[in-house]
Amino acid sequence: MQLAPLKTVRGRLILAAVAIEFVMLALLVGNSLRLLRDAMGEQARAQAQQIAPVLSAALVAPLAQYDHATVQAVLRESQAIKGIDYLAVTDAAGRVVAASGWPAGKPLPDTGRGFTLDASPPRYDVAHPIALAGQPLGRLQFGLDLGQIVQARQALFSQGLLIAGGELLLSGALLSVLGLLITRQLSALTEASLQVARGRLTPAPVAEGDDDVGRLGAAFNTMSRAIGERVEALQRAGEAQARIAASLAERNAELQRTHIALSAENGMRVAAQAELEQALLRLQDRTHQLDEVLELSPDGFVAFDAQGRVRYANQGFQRVTGLGADAVQGLDEAAFGEALAGHCAPQASFPGLAALRQCAEAADERRRRVRIELTRPAQRVVETGVRLSRSATVSQILYVRDVTHESEVDRMKSEFLSHAAHELRTPMASIFGFSELLLKRRSSPERQQEVLAIIHRQSQAMIDIINELLDLVRIDDRRGKDFQLERCDLAALATAVAADFGVPEGREPPQLALGDAPAEVRGDRAKLAQALRNILSNAYKYSPGGGGVRLALVHGTADDGAPRLGLQVVDQGLGMTPEQVARVFERFYRADSSGNIPGTGLGMAIVKEIVELHGGHAELHSSPGEGTTVTLWLPVAAAAAPAPAPAPHPAPAPAPAAGQLVDA
């Protein structure tokens, strides 16, 4: 096959060598020209720098004298210097006053282009100012002839081109011969390679030898033989590969069938697992809810495992007993019982889990629970019980419940009943005794009348007690829901109560100090009148020695700054000790222990309940022998505010505020 010259290695090598040589020769010639230009330029500049000051000095005086003929003569003589093409002098206004070698009237050339060999004509134009003592006198301009330099450069350039051309031709011829000698055997190798490429894998052997190309031919022959052997081996391997491929296809079909079966089974398992996960989630949710319930429960729970050791104790148990889960976790029954008993009062200690298990078998629900009393972390009454479990992991559950409040309520009820029975028994005993006297003993009509009066009086006392008890019970039950709340003027109410009040015989009616200022509260008139009557009644009863009773309306301010009104009753009676004052609002408490002063012991309790259900409070100050001052404080009715809702429970009495008499 015949290739284009540039497609062959030989052609490219020759081309590359010639190109490199061309570049180097171009650089050589170019550099020579550059050096010539720089050297000549420097020489021209130096010459100009030497000429200009000398000429300038010679021209100063004739220019100052306007002696242009002398200037012209100087220029003419100066142009004789070799290499100066022309000279000209302009005055300070730029007019040409003298010139030599330059046509008259023709503008002077521009000197700004500097030194260049490419100008036409070849000339270096230089300008130099002429000045004396700072006064510009004119300008000297001259041109240096660069013709010789340009000729030298052209000669250098043309000779350089000639030498470079010859050099290139010789190099090309020499390289062509060398390339032909080197690549002759390579051509045979190329032909053999092309035969291999066309499919003839074992071409005729090429020439071999000891030089590089001969060794390349030997290597090619070896490679050719090896390729033939490899082709034969590849054919055999191809047949074996075809057999293996058929076998693999059969195995693949079998695996596909197995895969389908396994996929179906796997689907069922996945569905079952999804159901299990759903069930587990539900179970976790349930467990979570149960944990929340247990943690929120005010009752305490302790779970024991099959070995009788504490497995779990909730927050409620810690709140009730003060024993945290970490303190009881892992304790056996005995240790747990001992720990819990350590927090109990000796007279009502924890009986132990075995005793509780026995109680759990009782048929009566109440007997299944045992009350114990804790002294730590606080004084508490606690009900405990055990519930046996059928679970495999929990054997029994101990529960504890704080029944302190219920227990206290029970105690107060019992105490109240005891007080009430005691108070009722006294007049009842009189009634029973005097009625029996009437039945069994005959007596004069006067005596009968006297006994009947006693029976009547005692009955009246019983009725009073029962009425006041009913009042108190009603107030307790209703908690003010039956109050008829309305705006009422306390002054008017106090005036009416004072007018209707049955003053004991021989006593003066209460002295009123109610003032004229509006004094409206929202309240139940009847209840407030009842409370005022009670404290007026006490004022008269507890001042047996006489003395005036004063009923006043006072204004004050609550702790929160809200205005309030007070109905104040002041007596000058027996007075009370601080201990008596502290208990005066207790039910059935009576300051008089002699029995000479009638009363049920419920009046002040009723007063306290009524006032507190109106959002106020009762205030009492007393000293023995000096009398007592009772003030019923009530909040002032707002202008258009709704009535205060009756307090569901008696509010804690605010600190007493200083009352001020309206017209004191």
Binding site: V60, Q65, D67, A92, A93, L132, A133, G134, Q135, P136
Partner: protein, 286 residues
């Protein structure tokens, strides 16, 4: 041809004339850029004159707001000829030329230096010449024929009836002294100021044979075309005398400052001015 086309062609024909008329007017900077020429009579070398008057030049440029150049002439005759041809704006020259320029060219006298101006007749110190008559038949050296000291010298020779004296003219006053010492002339004429400005070694070898009375030395005269600016120029000159540069200038050249001209001071120069007038009428030397 329509009337409109004729009008257009007429306007086009007028364009070159209009351009020629508008050309100079289109160069407004040219008149303003023309420098004020101060021409100093060539009483010494051009290089010395230009250097000497640089402080005045700088002051006037600043005061008048105009470029100023200091020039001179190759000799007194050329100087007088150019001044008469109105080449100068402000001339600083000797009294007799100032008188000539005043009467014949319309220049306006402004002021002069305070320093005394006298003309001297000098001889070599060792020479046998001790009176004017000793100079008979010899060569006497002077500056330009139009210079005041030379004219005074010629009048001095005439008044002293010196017979057959031959005048030789040179360009610089120091040349006069050198030539006298070398024996090129029996005597020489120079101004007192130039004599005092000679190198001491040279001056000590010379002897003053006679001296003139006080004359107007260098007088400032203003060209009549600047009559409107006379007060401004005069004020600028007087102001220069008050500046540190001006005082230094007067001290250096022993000029003493400026003074106003006496009423008939220049009139006294008339005989000398007439000599110049006659010289200018004579054909220039070849």
């Amino acid at each position: 041809m329509s009337r409109t086309r004729r009008r257009t062609l007429a306007l086009l024909a007028l364009l070159p004339a209009w351009a020629a008329a508008a050309g100079p007017a289109a160069l407004p900077a040219a008149p303003a850029a023309a420098p004020l020429r101060i021409a100093v009579a060539p009483h010494t070398s051009a290089r010395v004159i230009v250097e000497m008057y640089q402080p005045l030049r700088a002051h006037l440029e600043h005061a008048l707001g105009q470029r100023v150049e200091v020039i001179t002439a190759p000799d007194f005759t050329a100087f007088a000829r150019r001044a008469m041809a109105q080449d100068y704006d402000l001339a600083i020259t000797t009294g007799h030329q100032a008188r000539l320029l005043q009467t014949d060219a319309g220049y306006r006298p402004l002021l002069t230096y305070k320093a005394d101006f006298r003309a001297l007749a000098v001889v070599a110190g060792k020479s046998p010449h001790h009176s004017a008559r000793d100079l008979a038949g010899s060569t006497v050296i002077g500056l330009s024929p139009a210079s005041l000291v030379t004219i005074w010298g010629q009048h001095w020779l005439h008044r002293n009836a010196v017979p057959d004296a031959t005048m030789r003219y040179v360009s610089a006053s120091d040349s006069v002294g050198h030539l006298v010492l070398k024996g090129e002339g029996s005597a020489g004429f120079m101004s007192l100021a130039n004599f005092q400005g000679l190198p001491p070694a040279l001056r000590e070898q010379l002897r003053v044979l006679d001296e003139s009375t006080s004359m107007s030395g260098r007088v400032y005269v203003l060209n009549a075309r600047h009559a409107a600016r006379q007060e401004a120029v005069s004020a600028a000159l007087w102001a220069f005398a008050g500046t540190p540069e001006g005082r230094a200038y007067f001290d250096r050249y022993k000029l003493g400052g400026y003074r106003a001209l006496e009423p008939r001071e220049l009139f006294a120069m008339e005989p000398y001015a007439n000599e110049v007038r006659l010289a200018l009428k004579a054909p220039p030397a070849k």
